[in-house]
């Protein structure tokens, strides 16, 4: 490890209502791989966005190569040599590899673009990185792993001295990760500073020199990787005081029947051989880190995305568990499943329409008498739920876009309650919702469970999972890695399972 190349000191950043970064410190030395870890929402991405000029810091200082700097956009950061390799790749699929690497700064020869030089330069870049990619291949024909390599090559071609990898391994295969590590080690040899953001504990141990842990927007501490254990790191990540009491034991009756049984569900890369059971009146928490495949499982179960295989059985009115075919949300709704998406504005409600219109969206049949919509009845039901759920809205005709996040969520809940759905999938039910409204949603979920509805709750918030669930399924990289009763659940054992690379 060489001298310090980049220091971030006392970085503070607030968004309306959120203190995203609270006096965070971070530094990178030449020739080191520095991991940045923390739970979802700990502030890792925000910190990196401040560094690369996407956000402007409120206070604190950034020192780069001995000088205090402030980048106003990614371009400035890039020109200075601070480059980020995004998790979501930023590429033009219809152009070739070389064309993508040099987009926006093509070498020219008279009128024409000097493609030969671009290809030569790309080849040289790849040679230095020891990667075999044909620069003439179209970007969209490459695997995700290779596309990632191209992004790295692009970063290096900017004469980068600090490269930030934002969860680079999330979409890669084992072999590709191994290749990636070879490259990262190589870059380290060359004296670059590397920031490595990842959730995978195994990788952190293998590739990084130091680990900085963040929690809830604050700086927790920095460890030397080889001197610390996985447990040390996990403890730093989760070591928060839990204010709300976690649930002590399951509230589900021991003889409660199974209402939903999923066996060997496969859907794309993110859902592999997922099996679980849901019982009547149960709140089943789905825990895991970002990209673990929880939302994908829910969407496949709900028929929103195609699935390759798997058996789904649902308990019918007669109490029998029967296999059903769910190929579309229509089917799922027919069998009494309701899905509350994490992205309410996009998938949950039609925000340009009124509260009552959204409430009845899934149950139009109940509100049509003859050909016409019975608007009186519609309004009455909408108002009933406004009252029951304590939705804060002037009236049922208010457009949903004018409501706060928590109240939008209540409108979506009302939509499924009108349908009398027995199985409700809550995907991040309290994301973007303030504390007061959060508690109301929790109360509501408990009430629904007590009434005999069964709830699948996907949540990335550890406190939420521990407080609400009767049982917890933990997923990691598309697979179920744990299924534990609430009485045995602790932050540590959940996090261990969520970061486990099972194969």
């Amino acid at each position: 490890m060489g001298e310090v190349i980049l220091t971030m000191k006392d970085i503070d950043k607030s968004f309306p209502g959120v203190h995203a970064l609270d006096h965070v410190n971070f530094e990178v030395k030449r020739g080191e791989v520095h991991a940045l870890m923390g739970e979802n929402g700990a502030g890792k991405s925000t910190l990196m966005k401040v560094l690369t000029g996407i956000y402007q810091k409120d206070s604190g200082s950034i020192t780069y190569k001995g000088k205090e700097v402030e980048f106003h956009n990614t371009r400035e950061a890039q020109d200075a040599g601070v480059v980020i390799v995004h998790q979501e790749l930023n590429m033009v699929g219809d152009l070739t590899v070389a064309q993508n690497i040099f987009i926006g700064r093509e070498p020219k020869k008279g009128f024409r673009i000097d493609d030969k030089k671009m290809i030569e330069d790309s080849k040289k870049l790849f040679q230095d990185l020891n990667i075999e990619i044909d620069p003439r291949e179209k970007m969209q024909n490459l695997t995700v792993g290779k596309q990632q390599m191209c992004e790295i090559a692009k970063a290096i071609s900017h004469k980068a001295e600090v490269i930030i990898f934002d969860e680079p391994s999330a979409a890669l295969t084992e072999k590709e990760i191994a290749d990636l590590f070879v490259i990262i080690r190589d870059l380290r040899e060359k004296g670059l500073g590397i920031v490595y953001i990842s959730h995978r504990m195994d990788e952190i141990k293998v590739i990084t020199d130091r680990v900085t842990v963040m929690r809830d927007g604050g700086y927790v501490g920095t460890l030397i990787t080889k001197d610390s254990t996985k447990e040390d790191i996990i403890n730093m990540m989760v070591g928060r005081v839990i204010y709300e009491d976690p649930k002590q034991h399951s509230m589900v009756a021991p003889d409660a029947p199974v209402v939903l049984k999923v066996e060997h569900l496969n859907a794309g890369k993110m859902v592999q051989d997922v099996s679980f059971e849901l019982r009547k009146g149960e709140i089943l928490g789905f825990s895991g880190l970002m990209g673990a495949g929880r939302t994908e499982t829910a969407r496949a179960l709900f028929g929103a995305d195609p699935k390759q295989s798997g058996k789904i059985s649902i308990r019918g009115k007669d109490g029998q568990l029967r296999e059903v075919t769910i190929n579309s949300p229509q089917d799922a709704v027919k069998y009494g499943i309701g899905y509350l998406s994490e992205d309410r504005r996009r998938y949950g409600c039609v925000v340009q329409k009124s509260v009552s219109e959204n409430t009845t969206l899934a149950t139009m049949e109940q509100f049509t008498s003859g050909l016409l919509i019975n608007k009186g009845k519609e309004k009455k039901v909408a108002e009933k739920y406004i009252q029951e759920l304590a939705t804060k809205t002037p009236n049922a005709d208010q457009l949903v876009v004018n409501l706060s996040g928590g109240n939008q969520q209540k409108v979506v809940i009302a939509k499924w309650l009108t349908r009398d759905s027995d199985i409700l999938i809550f995907d991040e039910p309290t994301r973007g919702i303030d504390v007061g409204a959060k508690n109301e949603i929790y109360k509501l979920m408990n009430k629904l469970a007590a009434e005999g509805k069964s709830i699948i709750m996907i949540s990335s918030e550890m406190t939420e999972v521990l407080r609400m669930s009767d049982r917890i399924i933990i997923m990691c990289e598309g697979k179920v890695t744990g299924d534990i009763d609430i009485s045995e659940a602790t932050q540590e054992n959940i996090m261990t399972k969520a970061t486990r690379n099972i194969d």
Binding site: P329, V333, C349, V350, V351, K353, M364
Partner: protein, 325 residues
């Protein structure tokens, strides 16, 4: 202005619509004042109404399609195709009047169904299918009629003249009554029935509607079918007022129909549609055409002015939406 917006009567009617009516009246007064006797009141109203009849149906139809966030600019040529094919059946094959009228509407419906199926089940972009349908409609009309124009019977025709009663009976504007009645039905369908609700909602956020367990494909297709049906009816009114149709034409009505619709406050992005606005918009466009003609200007100026109006109306819509987000 803010105060005006809060007024309960204004709120009920919609500020936009009130403004549009004012524009309509002002236009009429202005034409009369400037043109004087070249713009005789009674005749002008009659010719405006004649224009409103067929254009109104096109505009109402395309309102449904635009509400889903799509577009159909094959409506003008399809209207001509309906009138030509059914008219030719009547004049050359002796198909009875009533059947010809039904056929006319059915042809419109067939085109609407085809467009809707292509857009929602085959995911062909609406503008491409519009282009293709436009060509196919023109082609069918030309082939079927052997490129001859078709004249529907005059009102003096003892056997078939009765069909002109849909427009007027002894000077009484039956057409206006029918048009307004259909507009009211359209309004009810769009705002007070399940299909209408789904059409508006899926135009606003198709994915959220799908995730509520609604068959969005079916309802999207229905919007195009309603459009086709209304275009077929519009064709009847066209021949009932203008008698003769020529193959190979009809394009300019696309723009006028879309203009009426967008002016009335239906958003090109989908999800927001106003039947009342469309009706007033159609009146404005129709009056404008009469005014332009009274000025001694021709089709050319009509097209230019309509084109500019649509650009302005859509730009206002696009920039208003962007400000909102």
């Amino acid at each position: 202005m803010e105060k005006l917006k809060q007024n309960p009567i204004v709120k009920k009617l919609g500020l936009n619509r009130i403004l549009l009516v004012c524009i309509l009246i002002l236009m009429f007064v202005a034409f009369r004042a400037v043109l004087g006797s070249k713009f005789p009141v009674a005749d002008s109203i009659r010719s405006t109404l004649n224009y409103v009849y067929f254009l109104g149906f096109l505009s109402l139809g395309v309102t449904f399609v635009i509400a889903t966030g799509g577009i159909d600019f094959s409506i003008g040529p399809v209207m001509f195709c309906c009138a030509l094919v059914s008219g030719y059946c009547m004049t050359s094959y002796g198909v009875p009047m009533a059947f010809a009228m039904v056929l006319c509407v059915l042809i419109g419906l067939a085109f609407g169904t085809f467009n809707g199926w292509m857009v929602s089940y085959m995911s062909v972009p609406p503008f491409i299918i519009s282009m293709a349908s436009m060509n196919i409609a023109k082609g069918i009309a030309s082939v079927f009629t052997k490129t001859q124009s078709v004249s529907w019977p005059q009102s003096s025709d003892p056997v078939n003249g009765w069909f002109r009663n849909i427009v007027s009976v002894n000077g009484f504007p039956v057409g206006l009554i029918i048009f307004l009645a259909v507009a009211v039905i359209c309004g009810i369908v769009l705002y007070n029935t399940k299909p209408g609700r789904y059409i508006l909602c899926l135009g606003s956020n198709s994915e959220a509607v799908r995730l509520s367990g609604v068959n969005t494909k079916k309802w999207r297709m229905l919007a195009y079918m309603i459009c086709g049906l209304l275009v077929g009816i519009g064709a009847l009114f066209f021949v009932a007022t203008y008698t003769t149709v020529q193959p190979g034409y009809g394009d300019q009505y696309n723009n006028e129909a879309i203009a009426g619709c967008v002016m009335g406050g239906t958003s090109m992005v989908g999800g927001l549609a106003s039947i009342g606005g469309t009706v007033i918009g159609v009146f404005i466009i129709s009056l404008l055409q009469q005014g332009i003609m009274a000025f001694g200007l021709g089709k050319g100026q009509q097209m230019i002015i309509t084109g500019i109006i649509v650009i302005i109306a859509v730009y206002i819509d696009v920039s208003a939406r962007r400000r909102k987000n």
